[in-house]
Symmetry: C2
Subunit: 695 residues, 2 copies
């Protein structure tokens, strides 16, 4: 019988309809396919039965995930028992453990005289996270004997921000429509919402902002709140609270008030009543996210009030219910500034200490806007009296949309581990924040994120929000094992691709600290030549400042002096050409084309070599991936193959267009061995793109 199983399995799989059999990535990293022998037997003995104490909806979720996961991984229905009565039991139970509200322990121990694995936590969410952590051990083929794991999140609030509009379009979304089928909600609650919640819970995400920061007030009306409630009810067992982006002028648009002045009593009363209404429907509502006085959004400054006045008004409405206001620091004035990079710091540092305790100031990782590489934002560490959240962009607005392989874990690790020197050396960004928010990259596409590899960015975001000093490479390996398999060759090769992928994008798009060189509006492809837009700081030329003499944005004392916003030690390092990292050279310095980095190659030559290196790297990915044929199911292999081909073509386009443009400015010859662009500059400038997604 046992011998016949493999051939029978093959036969039955062959008979399954193709659509059901095809692996399209829907299952994300929660695949739970049977583990290979003999490892499976070992794990089976350690999971001889599952015992779960308690019956809250969250504990039920943890139990169902363990049953589903263990049944799949171990290739047999998971036995469930009322009490531990044999060796190899898994016991999931609340216990007093030293891992806080959301942490857990997983411990090999004895229960009722039997060898057992105890998954314990102080609270239900800890149990849920512990359950997923245990499954992860099996998924990544880690030993499960002699376990003594204790883990807890370092940040209390770990949120996905969905830039989803009520018409189901998604700003900067490259994975289809919004997951939320608003028209059919609340009458129809798709099973997919539960799978979304499972995926988030598996990586510790505990909040979701459902709608775009460029918010419409509709979401706060009764019919829409009924839809929000349906989603909140679905997410709640999985430990996820819903939040909403709030439009600052909602009291006028919905309430008919004449003002949205945050000091106006009627306005305050309107928000209080609105908060009360929301909490009646969603008792664990997380709170509001607000983009105010930025890119045309209304805000307190329209009434000559401060960001603190605006945030505190909302905080006051939420406070009785335990809600939080996330107030975004991404602002730039309606009038152009001489250096946009400076504005958030200038506006917000004077407000330190003026925010209500339930306000979190949400700061982007860098001072401009989610570029392929930016130095860390100078606000980190600069507002010691204000809780800060770091906001990163999981969706790849600036790193090749859905099709480019660009693992962002390494980018986020880079910023999270950057030493702010505030208040002292050894204070990385990760220690200056209490929350982490990721602009979501999930949508209605079958594979959730628009590509197989972009699932890794969702995963890495959650894992780094949980442990912001974690290793991006270790997270990539974990994800690879769960998503692609434990074949060492697969793990090694995919890991290498992911590890170098973000730098490859930087190389072919914006090397050496260049930034903001993308196409206008839609942000698709290169457009370093654009310099005619209404606002100076919308233009790529504003940022690269290339002319016949040199290139780069002087942010030292001889220029905008943005560098002075950092702690002195950091500022000194960035301000000096001797110590500034190559990666930030043109972010902070304007240098002549013949300036020699480290006394060797000129900046012109170095720029060219970076472009070539980036393109070459993507070409290698194509080869690497081709070599994995047969080790990955054909469906996912074919999709990645096609995407890498697109990436290669677009990397070449970025390189060629950038070189054609910068050469037209620098008038420098291409060194021997550097291929000329495929077309002349006019050709690149003439390319136009209509109907680009996400715009």
């Amino acid at each position: 019988m046992a011998k016949m199983l493999p051939s029978l399995l093959l036969l039955l799989l062959a008979l399954l309809p193709a659509a059901a059999r095809a692996d399209d990535g829907y299952r994300l990293w929660l695949r739970y396919d049977p583990i290979e022998s003999p490892q499976r037997a070992l794990y089976s003995r350690a999971a001889s039965e599952l015992v779960v104490e308690g019956d809250s909806t969250t504990i039920a979720a943890a139990r169902s995930e363990l049953v589903r996961g263990l049944s799949g991984l171990l290739g047999r229905p998971q036995p469930v028992a009322q009490r531990v009565d044999r060796d190899g039991a898994i016991l999931l139970a609340r216990r007093a453990v030293p891992t806080g509200e959301e942490g857990y322990v997983i411990r090999s121990t004895r229960v009722n005289g039997h060898a057992a694995t105890l998954i314990a936590a102080n609270g239900d969410r800890g149990l849920l996270y512990g359950a997923f952590a245990y499954l992860r051990l099996l998924q990544t083929r880690r030993p499960v004997a002699h376990l003594a794991i204790a883990d807890a999140p370092k940040l209390g609030l770990r949120l996905l921000d969905h830039w989803d509009n009520p018409d189901r379009s998604v700003e900067r979304g490259y994975a289809g429509q919004s997951l939320w089928d608003w028209q059919k909600l609340p009458g129809w609650v798709e099973p997919r919402y539960t799978d979304y919640a499972r995926a988030n819970a598996s990586i510790g995400i505990n909040g979701a902002v459902l709608n775009n920061v460029n918010a419409q007030a509709d979401i706060l009306t009764a019919p829409w709140l009924a839809k929000v409630k349906a989603l909140a009810d679905t997410f709640r067992p999985w430990g996820i609270r819903v939040y909403l982006s709030a439009r600052f002028t909602a009291p006028m648009e919905l309430g008919g008030l004449k003002t949205a002045d945050p000091l106006d009593p009627q306005v305050r009363a309107w928000w209080k009543a609105k908060a009360d209404e929301i909490y009646r429907l969603v008792p664990d509502f997380g709170g509001f996210l607000v983009k105010a006085n930025s890119e045309g959004q209304p805000g307190p400054q329209d009434y000559h009030r401060s960001h603190a006045d605006g945030a505190n008004m909302l905080a006051e409405a939420l406070a009785p219910h335990g809600g939080t206001v996330f107030w975004r620091a991404f602002v730039y004035a309606a009038a152009a500034d001489k250096d946009r990079a400076k504005q958030a710091y200038e506006e917000f540092t004077p407000l330190d200490g003026k925010f209500a305790p339930n306000v979190v100031l949400q700061v982007k990782n860098g001072p401009i806007d989610f570029q392929p590489r930016e130095p860390f934002h100078p606000l980190f560490g600069a507002m010691p009296k204000t809780p800060l959240a770091i906001e990163v962009q999981v969706t790849k607005e600036y790193l090749g949309f859905a099709t480019h392989l660009a693992y962002l874990g390494t980018m986020w690790e880079e910023v999270l581990k950057s030493d702010t020197y505030r208040p002292r050396a050894g204070t990385p960004v990760a220690k200056t924040v209490t929350a982490m928010a990721g602009v979501a990259n999930v949508g209605s596409d079958r594979n959730w994120t628009g590509s197989q590899f972009d699932q890794a960015n969702w995963y890495a975001f959650g894992r780094l929000a949980w442990g912001p000093l974690g290793s991006a490479d270790a997270i990539a390996e974990e994800w690879t094992r769960m998503t692609w398999g434990n074949d060492p060759r697969l793990v090694q090769r995919i890991g290498a691709m992911m590890a170098s992928s973000r730098q490859a994008v930087v190389d072919y798009m914006t090397p050496l600290g260049l930034h903001h060189l993308m196409g206008t509006g839609h942000h698709y492809g290169p457009a370093p030549w654009v310099g005619n837009l209404e606002r100076p700081d919308w233009n790529p030329t504003y940022y690269h400042r290339a002319d016949a003499n040199g290139i780069g944005f002087d942010r030292t004392a001889t220029g905008s002096n943005a560098v002075a916003q950092y702690a002195p030690e950091v500022a000194a390092r960035f301000a000096s050409l001797d110590t500034v990292p190559d990666d930030y050279l043109l972010w902070f310095h304007h240098v002549p084309w013949d300036y020699r980095l480290h006394g060797v190659a000129t900046v012109w030559e170095t720029l060219l070599s970076h472009y070539d290196r980036g393109v070459a790297r993507v070409a290698l990915y194509e080869q690497d991936w081709a070599a994995l044929q047969g080790r990955v199911e054909p469906e996912r292999h074919a999709e990645v193959t096609a995407f890498l081909r697109i990436q290669h073509r677009e990397a070449r386009w970025w390189r060629d267009a950038s070189i054609a443009y910068f050469q037209s400015v620098s008038k420098r010859p291409l060194p021997p061995g550097t291929a000329p662009p495929a077309h002349d500059l006019a050709w690149y400038e003439a390319q136009t793109f209509t109907h680009v997604p996400g715009h």
Copy 2:
């Protein structure tokens, strides 16, 4: 071994990951799940081996479908042989048969001395259709002994019209985004495109217009044509030609010409060159679909030319390549007409005989716009020298979007079988047309059509385009057996629901010939009170003409006399209150509220009883469906349950709002037993809906 199989199968199915196991409707009617015993053995003997002659891409498609289908249905890998060498063979081969270019025969015969089933056709597409027809026999549990089937399509052109925009939004789409992921095309050709083509081929659809009739010119530029080519290459093996909606002013927008005048030589040259360019990429390109001088679209009348001038110019460009122009008859003048229903007939009948031979005039089923019920369009039969296509709307813009169960086969059967009396009695609409076009209801939703039951409308459209005098109920049964199963109780109950469903919608939305009473713009929900829109014929009040005295649009000689556009026999029947069918009463007549139908109930009482009947019918569907629990997998059962609940709520809303409004006009009391509306009229009028899909 054989005995163990069932329990093993159950075990293995239990071990399959839930996402792969869940039945979400993706497979449509091509499910191919194993047939129950003992029927399976019978079929197996009749399919002991498959022999396919020829190796074109279309024959390869037919072969792959037979292997896939037979392997699934018969629960074992389908044996394939080079030649017939045993009893029970299936032979797919080109033979001279009397079924035209696309028809096929399926015949029990003997080959090489063995009992065999011959699937034969003159051409490859016939073989493909024959292959699907054979599978359908098994899927619907028909006998396969003594087969003598000969079938051929009655209409040569059977097209889906996609109203898909280049940004992936879909006008009047209720199933997510466009299937076409334009941004990733042509680099990434989703496997789903092939499944779309398979589904179309299985029901005989042989053309697809890829883009919205409200066309943007972009689709005709080189980058977009490369995307079109990728789709055409994917569809070609499945017998589907691609068509494009053409924007009439493309020569100006893309070619920089100063005019789009169809008699201008430069304009003609531009279109010829564009056609040549397209055919270089897509040698079997089908042609253009044009919406001109309608709802703001440009057209030949902008240059004081006729529709024939415009159509013939495009026809001239396509003719050398064998392409067709579909020219839409859905026009209404920029200035309001005294009866919009009359305009198409008035504009087009004078042009009969003036169109080039490769122009097809595409006429909507009724003279207004895809209402839940309209009489047939008077143009059918009225243009004997012009090939006509009938255009129906598969997407349910006016019949409850995705959530209402409304099987449209019965509606289309009603119009296709309507006797035009042109040139003589016994000339149904079906015999006045050479083509049929359906405005597609497919999108990116996992279940393709936004609901499980809307798949039936896609299916019925294809089957009726193939055989326009077919029975909608028979088609519904066929679809039900393939989609839900052959359990007689399932077949009977679902069939009954489908058969009555369109009438139920008519009853709760627009009974007795009422029409165009929906919400402005988005067309969601009732708004019979709207009478303040810019154009008179945009207003519901224009169509129902209810006042204190009576209700209905007088289209007899005392009114607009639109009825005179029909053949005299038809006109006489519609024009007389004695003979007009109740279903068209208020379409053709304005009658006093106290007018008694058939001398019995008043029109006021009858209206009320129809509203109640419609709502009651939907309530019964909920009960009927609940009774099928356990006979349908839980996922699909739950989805339909939720949708029926939504439909019931919205049916009640239509009824209540309509009664509240018409009572405010008629001032008539509600008869005893008629429940008053849940709210007053002001409440219904105050409902507003933002971000409705498809708008």
